[in-house]
């Protein structure tokens, strides 16, 4: 019964979304304030409907209602409650429902926070968001309804994919979708600007907090994904250039470019049509990500069930949404673009370089991800493009980008004096050089070119950010007044740049000093790696709620003292007959020790993989710092103040008109 209720709520949501799309648009043509205001009510009603649908599906999972095909495929009587709740988004249909729930949530947020926007602008934004929702509701209802019944009803479910039974997964998709879907708001603002013809500094100021919020969630989502892959896939790697990872990374690169070009558009009124194009691009890449993951055109570790009808539908959706947006862009943007002087040695000039590098990076990732598909379409065979390509094209783009971060933070808007900027950069440059040369030696006792270069870049990015904060604080006579005078946006920007630096140091150290060893050990035997002694103490059976496991016991010692006891497992999930390696990790701020269990042999010995991963946590720490920086920047007082001012002036204008 609840399933039918959910299905009905979803159809209702489609109807409401259609109204949310059409009515404000008619209101805009007729200049009718009542019709324009309808968008907000529709957004709230739509959210309520989709929330009911989502709750119904969750209820079906919690109560193990195997009469639903989707539940039967992804639930199991012995699945713990926590995973029964997260299993809702464990496969295609449910994750789409989560997608529309989040989209609808963003729409409500826009309707609430944008009451201070000019009525027309706000209504157009909601209309565009409604149009996107319509596309996704149709996708769910026509090709992938999670509410389809199954008869005869199976007595047992097929269980959630065991690699998804991990706390990391509970966090990864919702946060990632918050980011993906969040770019729809920036997209809607861009389309509204193209339709309404208003593209100025105020428009950029409205768009910025939304974009930064979406970006910070995407950052965190990618960070969680990387952490989950490290923990759960058992290869000890943190990034694989897998198509699905790339699908989330491309919008991130475009979104990062967008954040920076929005700053230029707001402060200097330049790069307007470029900013709009980036907003369209960021969301298009999010849609493309969905297409790549859902359609199975690219084979991937993570890809869910592939189905050509679904692929064609998403393709059609991309065609309509992005094609429509770009056609509108081709038609309207020439009138909106402004020509102004842009000095390359100024903050806006350097941010333009930043955009070039970021968009090129997104381009090469896109090329590498699609190249197999292009070859295939041209009849040249099916291939797989791997990390060798991505590493060799990505590194030359990211290195100048990090150098730019330090430079752009120092150089003022409009026009800079080269000598003055270089003088200011002496301190961070010296610090970067000193730390880059000594830090790897201090931690590892040896050094490599990659470690020096990475640490140098990381300290450079973080050091210039710290210097910028220091200068801002010092500009006031009293340090307390100085601290409070620094706007949150500046804290946020610099914190995110420090995060980038921390990330770079982590990447450089783990790639240079990471060590691994494949060993076959009999019980009691030991192996050495990175100055640690790993003693294999034997193996025994262990059991979890829905799996049985073989659990190895490994004692890690350093110079006679015990560092850690690790219990790597090989789990058999009987429901699907799947064996999953559960690595055991001893985490530390300066490095992880990581053991995973391989094959067991008849004589009682086991093959084990041992890893020493110095500084690997810094990679994710960098991501978390970027997330926090984004949060600070998005909540800057300036946006709230500006909104209050605009609302007051709008009210004053209305009062005069009346």
């Amino acid at each position: 019964m609840s399933a039918e209720l959910g299905h009905f709520a979803l159809i209702l949501a489609l109807g409401v979304a259609l109204l949310q799309w059409g009515v404000p648009l008619i209101g805009w043509r007729r200049r009718d304030a009542r019709l324009l205001a309808f968008g907000a009510s529709a957004a709230h009603a739509q959210f309520l409907c989709v929330l009911v649908a989502y709750a119904c599906l969750t209820y079906a999972f919690v109560t193990k209602d195997f009469s639903l095909a989707y539940v039967a495929e992804n639930d199991h009587t012995r699945l713990p409650l926590f995973y029964r709740v997260t299993a809702v988004w464990g496969a295609h249909e449910g994750s789409l429902l989560l997608w529309v729930l989040i989209l609808s949530g963003w729409t409500v947020a826009v309707s609430v926070f944008n009451r201070r926007l000019p009525l027309e602008m706000g209504a157009l934004v909601l209309s565009v968001l409604g149009a996107i929702s319509v596309g996704f509701y149709l996708f769910i209802l026509l090709t992938s309804s999670p509410f389809d019944r199954l008869y005869p009803v199976p007595t047992e479910g097929h269980d959630l994919n065991p690699i998804l039974q991990d706390p990391g997964l509970a966090l990864h998709p919702p946060v990632l979708y918050m980011g993906y879907v969040g770019f729809s708001v920036a997209f809607a603002f861009a389309i509204a600007a193209l339709i309404g013809g208003r593209l100025d500094g105020a428009w950029a100021r409205w768009t910025r907090p939304w974009t930064v919020t979406a970006w910070m969630f995407l950052t965190l989502g990618i960070t969680f994904g990387s952490w989950w892959a490290y923990k759960e896939l058992g290869w000890g790697g943190w990034w694989f250039w897998d198509p699905v990872e790339n699908a989330s990374f491309m919008p991130w690169l475009a979104g990062t470019a967008l954040i920076h070009s929005l700053a230029v558009t707001e402060k200097r009124g330049l790069l307007k049509s470029w900013t709009v194009l980036l907003a369209i691009l960021a969301f298009s890449l999010s849609l493309l990500g969905t297409f790549l993951v859902r359609s199975g055109v690219l084979v991937s570790v993570h890809a869910f069930a592939s189905d050509p009808t679904r692929g064609l539908f998403v393709l059609g959706l991309i065609g309509v949404v992005v094609g429509g947006a770009l056609a509108l862009y081709a038609w309207r943007a020439p009138r909106l673009s402004a020509y102004g002087e842009l000095n390359l040695l100024s903050r806006e000039g350097l941010l333009l370089f930043n955009n070039v590098f970021l968009v090129c990076a997104a381009g090469v990732v896109l090329l590498g991800t699609l190249y197999p598909l292009v070859l295939d379409a041209l009849g040249l065979g099916k291939i797989s493009v791997g990390p060798p390509y991505f590493d060799s094209v990505f590194v030359p783009l990211i290195v100048p980008l990090i150098l730019l971060v330090g430079l752009a933070a120092t150089v003022p808007w409009k026009r800079a004096r080269l000598a003055e900027s270089l003088r200011r950069l002496r301190m961070p440059a010296a610090a970067a050089l000193a730390v880059g040369l000594t830090l790897p030696l201090a931690i590892q006792g040896r050094t490599t070119l990659v470690a020096v270069a990475g640490t140098l870049l990381g300290v450079w990015a973080a050091g210039t950010a710290v210097q910028d904060l220091w200068r801002r604080v010092r500009s006031k006579a009293d340090w307390r007044a100085g601290l409070t005078s620094v706007p949150r946006a500046a804290w946020g920007m610099n914190l995110a740049h420090i995060g980038l630096g921390v990330w770079a140091i982590g990447v450089a150290c783990v790639t240079s000093f990471g060590a691994e060893k494949d060993v076959r050990l009999a019980p009691g035997a030991h192996a050495e790696l990175g100055g640690y002694t790993f003693v294999f103490q034997g193996e025994r059976e262990a059991a979890g709620p829905n799996y049985t496991a073989q659990q190895g016991s490994v004692l890690v010692e350093r110079e006679g003292t015990t560092v850690a006891r690790l219990y790597p497992q090989k789990r058999l999930y009987a429901s699907q007959g799947t064996v999953i390696t559960e690595a055991a990790i001893h985490p530390g701020p300066f490095g992880d020790l990581y053991v995973s269990l391989g094959e067991g042999y008849d004589d009682g010995s086991w093959s084990l993989r041992l890893y020493d991963k110095p500084m690997v946590r810094w990679i994710w720490l960098g991501g978390v710092l970027m997330f926090l920086g984004g949060g600070l920047a998005a909540s800057d007082r300036r946006y709230r103040l500006a909104r209050a001012l605009e609302r007051r002036s709008a009210q004053a204008a209305e009062a005069t008109a009346a």
């Binding site: 000890g236 699609l370 197999p372 598909l373 070859l375 295939d376 379409a377 291939i383």
Partner: protein, 180 residues
């Protein structure tokens, strides 16, 4: 005009996707069919085999593949398609119907060990083609590709993309024909 450029790019991309969705990727003849396998001389990778197994020689050439039918599988640890076909290769190895020789294509040895350790090792022997030169000589477009060699070392079949049970149904009669 330049504002219409993004639209043109999108249309081109969509056309590619639409074609890509329609295609069956695994149809492509190889000019090498019926010819002897191209020459190579590659190092083998020592892997922990079952206890008591004879370790393979340090290097192998195309001559070492003669004597019995063999599947030569180009793969890499970084390749998603290879992971796709891997369970079937494991099954094939367990059935013992044919000898599997893996050629690890443009891949670091440590990555390979990790990958085989995680997914299991179906190969009788694994050769390392780090530079990819052997792949070029064999006309490999990308991994995975599987060549079927008869007992005389001639290529009788080539599978582009993951080796599927359906492909195996077509390969099996070829092997029986060449063995007799």
């Amino acid at each position: 005009m330049r504002f219409a450029l993004p639209l043109a790019v999108l249309i081109a991309l969509l056309a590619l996707f639409a074609v890509g969705l329609q295609r069956d990727p695994r149809r492509l003849p190889s000019p090498l069919i019926g010819k002897p396998a191209p020459a190579f001389d590659l190092p083998t990778i020592a892997l922990p085999g079952p206890p008591g197994a004879v370790p393979p020689p340090a290097r192998m050439t195309q001559a070492d593949l003669r004597g019995a039918p063999v599947l030569v599988n180009f793969f890499a640890s970084w390749c998603a398609g290879c992971q796709d076909e891997h369970p079937f290769l494991m099954e094939l190895a367990r059935s013992g119907e044919v000898r599997l020789v893996g050629i690890d294509y443009k891949d670091a040895e440590s990555d390979l060990r990790r990958w085989l350790g995680r997914h299991g090792d179906p190969y009788a022997v694994v050769l390392s083609d780090l530079s990819g030169n052997t792949g070029i000589d064999w006309g490999v477009y990308g991994v995975p590709e599987t060549f079927v060699l008869d007992a005389q070392g001639r290529i009788v079949f080539k599978q582009i993309g993951p080796l599927t049970p359906e492909a195996w149904q077509r390969i099996r009669p070829l092997l029986q024909g060449s063995a007799s």
